[in-house]
Every structure is written in C-alpha cells, then in structure tokens.
Symmetry: C2
C-alpha cells in the first residue's frame, strides 16, 4: 500500500511551514485567523512567536506568560522499579521537548506496520506556546508507610502533605497523585495532544489518577497580559507576582540552596486546588453583596471606594458613617499576604458540566500556585481564608494536590534527573 508520502520523516513544524497561513489559522482560532488574513502569511508562520523552550534553568510553564488553555493530569505509578521511573521521566522529557517545538512526540510515524509514535491530532497545528511541567507528589516517596523507591529520605520537608484545611470537602479520586503533568497552550487540542501522548508513553508504568481541563486563565503571570475575570465575573489575580519581577520570583517561587534538598534547587512547589463555585447561589445575590464579599468593585476591579484596578487596597479607609469601606471578612482583606506569603498564581476556570442530581453547574476555579515553600506561603494564607473569608459561602474546595517540580532539564538531561540519578 502506498502511503501517499515520501518515506522521509516529516515534523509538525515542517508541515506547519508548508500549510502556511491556513495552518496558523487553525492554531490561532478563527478570530486570530480572521484578524491575520490581512496581515500576511509571514507573521503567522514565524515559529518564534509560538514556541517556549523546554530546556532551561527552571521548568517552563511557571514564569511563562500564561497560556489560554490547561490540561492537567495526575498519575499513579504501577511500576516498582526505579530504573523504569528513570526511563519514563527521560522519555517524557524527550517527547516534551519535541512537542513544545511543534514536532511529533516521536519520530517513527510512517511505518505501515507499526502504530505511529504520535497520535496525529496536532499534526498541522502550531506549537501554540505549549509548555509541559512535571512534578512529584508526596506519595511518590512514601505510600502506606512504604518507601517505594528507596527515596523516602530525599522527600523535601516542604513536600509534607498539606494539613486538613477548614471547610475542605475533598474528593480523593480527584486529589493527590505520584506524578503530575501540567500542559498549557494557546490551543486546547495542542494541550490535549501532549497529555495524551505522555500518558501513552507511560503505559504499563503509570495510570492516570485524575485530570482537569481549564480555560480562560484566572491570573496574569506577565506584565504584557490584562487581568482576566473568573467565573464569578471578578477580575482575579490583580496582585499576582509577574514573571518580569525576577527579584520576587527569586524570593518567593524558586527553591534556594539553603532551603534544601539540593535536587530541588531552582525548582518550586505546585499547589492545585479545585475550587467549585456555587454559581447558582452567587448569581442570586446582589451586586452590593458580591462587591462586599470580594472587597472590590465588580466591573472596574478597583478596591471598594477607588477607581482603578491597580489602586492600592486601603484597609483603613472608612465611609461617611465611619464604617470600614472594606468589610472585616472581605476576601481582599484576608487574602492580603504578608511578604512571606506571596505566591505565583497560574489558575484556570473550569466547567465539568451540570451535576446530574440537581442540574447545577459544576464549575469554578482550578487554582494553581507555585511557591518556594507551600507550608509557609499557601497554608497560612488558606487557613486564614478558610476560617473567615466571606467568599466561603459561595465556594467549596473539592480537590487538592501538592507536587515538587524539580529544576529544568539541561541540554542532555531530563526533568527529575537531579532526584533520580543520585539515588
């Protein structure tokens, strides 16, 4: 049977060049395509606009200007051999590097007698600024009291499981996991493709424990991005650390030598929280109550009594009757971080449809944050919010996970090497 092609290999990027503007249109969404039609094909085909390097000091997908779509997966290992874990993480890094460049996951795609190395659905899409970020959960090191891979003594103190938090109603099946993959891209099909192919590579060694799709990022991680709105209709993440603030990133996000362990230096910790919004309840309360709960004006995003989103929050301000403009239990008051508690947020909105029993929207915020020590940054902040935040009436934390994300892969290495090769 002829395969209708030369026998030589073809990369996604090769094809992208060939298809030109039409391929770019697919990748950018039809809006992008319409807008680009007048702009000339060259711009659209410039790969530099669409790729984020996989290999770097830190893993990509943290300081990267946040992409529009998320596909997150947590996996549990079924292998008991550390050598197989090494093989898996190396294979993941190799495939990740290829896919983030816009190439296929593997290079054997044209033999008629074998399954293709790549599943093909991103074949003529742009790289879409894909980033792939890997992490190790607490259970990777120890599960049911068992030191699984002889690495229990290398588990960072900062990776101790999160303590129970007030108000949590956690679904275990959507929480935790031995390993995680965060795929972010500007095209949902590119993010899906990446997770699917990584999961495929892990077959026999790991199984997916849970996954989450996200859209409409709920924070900005770059000064080039406007503040987006979450599904409460509120601007979210106004005071987020921005990647351009390298001093703040260094101080609050990246693990330092003195923090230990050495394999995590240049890495960071990822906290994920699936926060369901009680949409139907929220939608029935007045604008005044919505604004009081958050402590900001809904449309401008300005602190109550101010005009501009970026006006500083003045917790002392009083109205004409001497009452605080920002309520004692307003979210912005309680979420006001001490310097130590600053974190890099990188969450997304999600909707998983309507629940079958009551026909209510299962939707909300898939909160992701990166920090140098979750127990010193995320936990105290969340404890304060969980106890008193007026927003609690409108949200439920339904899942939780914590992962140690090691530093980035060097030129011939892989993510996780600092942990696994020294064992």
């Amino acid at each position: 049977m002829s395969n209708g092609k030369a026998d030589g290999k073809i990369s996604r990027r090769d094809l992208f060049r060939v298809t030109g503007a039409a391929g770019a249109g697919l990748a950018l969404g039809a809006g992008g395509y319409s807008a680009l039609r007048g702009a000339g094909d060259e711009t659209a085909a410039l790969p530099g606009l669409q790729t984020v390097a996989f290999r770097d000091v830190h893993q990509a997908g943290m300081a990267t200007a946040q992409q529009e779509h998320l596909h997150f997966a947590a996996l549990d290992l079924v292998t008991e051999e550390i050598s197989e874990v090494r093989d898996l993480l190396r294979a993941w890094s190799e495939a990740a590097e290829r896919m983030t460049r816009g190439e296929t996951a593997g290079d054997d795609n044209f033999s008629q007698f074998l399954p293709p190395d790549d599943t093909g659905e991103a074949f003529d899409l742009s790289p879409a600024r894909l980033t792939l970020t890997f992490g190790f959960g607490p259970s990777f090191f120890e599960k049911d009291g068992e030191d699984r891979f002889g690495l229990a003594d290398r588990r960072p103190v900062a990776l101790a499981p999160l303590p129970p938090l007030t108000g949590d109603v956690l679904d275990e099946g959507r929480s935790d996991g031995d390993l995680c993959v965060q795929a972010s891209a500007d095209d949902p099909q590119v993010a899906f493709h990446a997770v699917r192919n990584l999961v495929r590579i892990s077959r026999g060694l790991a199984v997916v424990r849970w996954s989450q799709l996200g859209f409409g990022r709920t924070a900005s991680t770059s000064k080039t991005q406007a503040t987006p709105r979450n599904l409460m209709g509120l601007k979210d993440g106004t005071n987020n650390i921005k990647a351009e603030d390298t001093d703040l990133m260094d101080q609050h996000v990246w693990v330092h030598e003195e923090d230990g362990p050495s394999w995590m230096v240049g890495g960071t910790y990822l906290v994920a929280r699936r926060i369901r919004m009680l949409i139907e309840v929220w939608d029935r309360v007045s604008l005044g109550e919505q604004e009081t709960s958050i402590g900001r004006h809904k449309y401008s995003g300005a602190p109550i009594g101010k005009d501009d989103e970026f006006d500083p929050v003045d917790l002392e301000a009083k109205d004409e009757n001497g009452e605080p403009l920002i309520a004692a239990d307003a979210h912005v008051r309680l979420a006001r971080r001490s310097d130590e508690e600053k974190i890099l947020r990188r969450g997304y909105s999600f909707t998983d449809g309507f629940d079958a029993e009551r026909g209510q929207l299962d939707a909300g915020l898939f909160f992701i944050s990166f920090q140098r020590d979750p127990h010193k940054q995320f936990v105290p902040l969340q404890q304060r919010l969980a106890a008193n935040d007026r927003l609690n009436e409108y949200i439920r934390h339904t899942a939780s996970a914590l992962f140690a994300c090691p530093p980035g892969a060097h030129e011939s290495g892989y993510v996780g090497e600092t942990l696994l090769e020294q064992a």
Copy 2:
C-alpha cells in the same frame, strides 16, 4: 457604597472599545494576541470581525464559518404553561441578540441591591463570533404519551425520534431533551457565559438535562477554513457541504414549504451524537490498519493511492494484485453519500477526562449535523456505517439527540415564534 463607576449603563462592547488591544488579546487567545501586537490596535478592535448577526432568515450557527469552541446544553421544561414557554423563548432571543453583539445578557447590572442581570465573566471579552442556536426536541411535543402544550399535532414528521441504530450504547442521561442551545464561539469563556446566562434566565421553567463542551472543530463549514483533524489524528469532514454552496445548503439543509410543517420553513434539523473513541485501542494499531479503516492516508488526508486531500475518492481503483485500494469496509466507502444523504456537519472534539475505573480517556467526537430530514439523510447513512464500517471497532455512540431548529427571528420576533404564536 460607591460603585466606582458612573451610574450610566456600560455595554461589553463599550468596554471592549476602551480596553482596545488588550481586550482583543484576551478574546483571540494569546496566539492571536502575539500575532496582533505588530498589527495595530484598530484591526483588533474592529467589531465587524467578531460579531455574527443573531437575527436573519436562518438561525446563526449553522452556515456560520465554524467557530473553535462549543458549549451545548439540552434542557427539560418543568413548566406546563405554554405562555411561560413563549416568555422563555422570547427572553432567550433577546438575551442571545445582546450577547452575540458583545453586550451583557440584560441591562440592569449596576444596582447595588439586585443581582446583576449578567454574570460578568465575559464583560471585557470580544463577542468572539458567538452564535446561539435553539431547537425543540421530540419530547417537547409529546412525552409519555402526553400532549404537553397542545402542540402534538404540529410535531414534524421529520422530528420522529431516531430509530435504534446498530451498536448504539446510549446513555439516556446524556441524550434527548425538550430544548437545546448550541453556543459556538472562538473563546470558550464567551460560549460558557452565554449558556450560563440562558440557563439562569430559564430558572423555574427548565432544568439542564445534559451539556457538552467541545473544542477543535471536526469539520469546516466554509471554504475559508482548512480541514481540521479529529482525535484519531485524521482530517475530518473533507467533503462537507460548505456554506458558500448555497444551492447545496438549499437542497440538503433548509426545510422547504413542501416539506412542511410551515413553522419549520427556513429551519433545519439538528442531530447530535456523542461518539466516544476507544483511544487506547486505536493508538495501538498500525498506521496501515488506521489508513485502511478510514480509506485515506493519515497525514495528507488523500484517498488511498492518491496524493491530495481533495482528489476524488475512486472506489474502483485496484492495487498491483488486483485488490481494491479502498477496502470494502473502509469508512469512506460506506460513508459515501447518495445525493439525498448529503448533510452539513458541524461537530467538535471533546474530552471529559479519564474514566475512573480503567484510567482510559473519555474522549471523541461530538458529532453535530444539520439536514432537511434526518430520517432520509442521517439515518440511512448511519445504518450503513453502523452495520459494516471498519471504524466501528474503535468508536462507540454513547449519546444521541434530535432537535427541530426553527427559522431565524425577524426584527421584533423570537426563535420559536412560528411554532408558539400560532398555537
């Protein structure tokens, strides 16, 4: 409490103009934004690029060049009063017209003492070519033998429930429904916002029965669009009717006077099928088997033995041994439509995560088609495929629905008026 704004009303589009390129960047996705940054703000802010008229002879969302994202919802009515159904459909059309223009769903958004008419999460997003398409299911007319609204005799013959199809494994909870809303847009948050606000308007009158998110369209409905790939990695919908083929649209999609009933003239019928792909099985078979199953080359999309996607399918062609190049059970052979069976496809890929039991991807194709008579077009085609298509080994039809989509709303009317006002 000050609301930090003038008391005058503000539309989403007003705000869009103010925020300029930043707002457009949110709407186009970061890829679009990156590409646009060099192109000047004026292009980005041109609303003409981003809006599709709600009022027209036909409903929008059929002949409209297919957008990148889908949010589909089916609802069951809980009211028994036809007057309330009229009120609901009128309110839906009014909100739909506003939202497709990029405005808020309602205009009372600034009273501190009331819930806002609009939920706000699309407030500073572009209209994103949003279309909203409404339909009536068979159960709207008759349910459990009961003529619910005195309209049973107006049910079109073409809206008879679909017959059982070979191989169907249908989940009733994801099938059927009294009413449907198809929201398509180039921004998933805009599609989500539209469905959420329409559902909110229906509160007390209807409840959501099921919903489906989709991405990465699996057909092209316009000659300006390249053929996309489905999650099998195959180009899908190469021979779809294109909206520019007005003769074909007229012949195969729109209901004519002689078809009856008169309230459906200018309308069409929507078939939705949730087709789960057995991804793990598909991914393990050889490229040869994949290509034999579909009858096309995977990467080029060309018919087996040909070079170009748009080369005609030659079912008589033989290889050097005299065997048919396109197998007897290949999808393209069986899916080859007689003239009467042509349909307008407008489906999307979906993924609803991994199933809990076996860790396998719950993903596939949410097939949507529009046709003049589903029983003469969709049903015979699907019966043929269900009986013999080699692809059946790799797919399961897990849900099914059928809706009558009336003509578009005229200037002061609403979608459904032709049915409901003559009652």
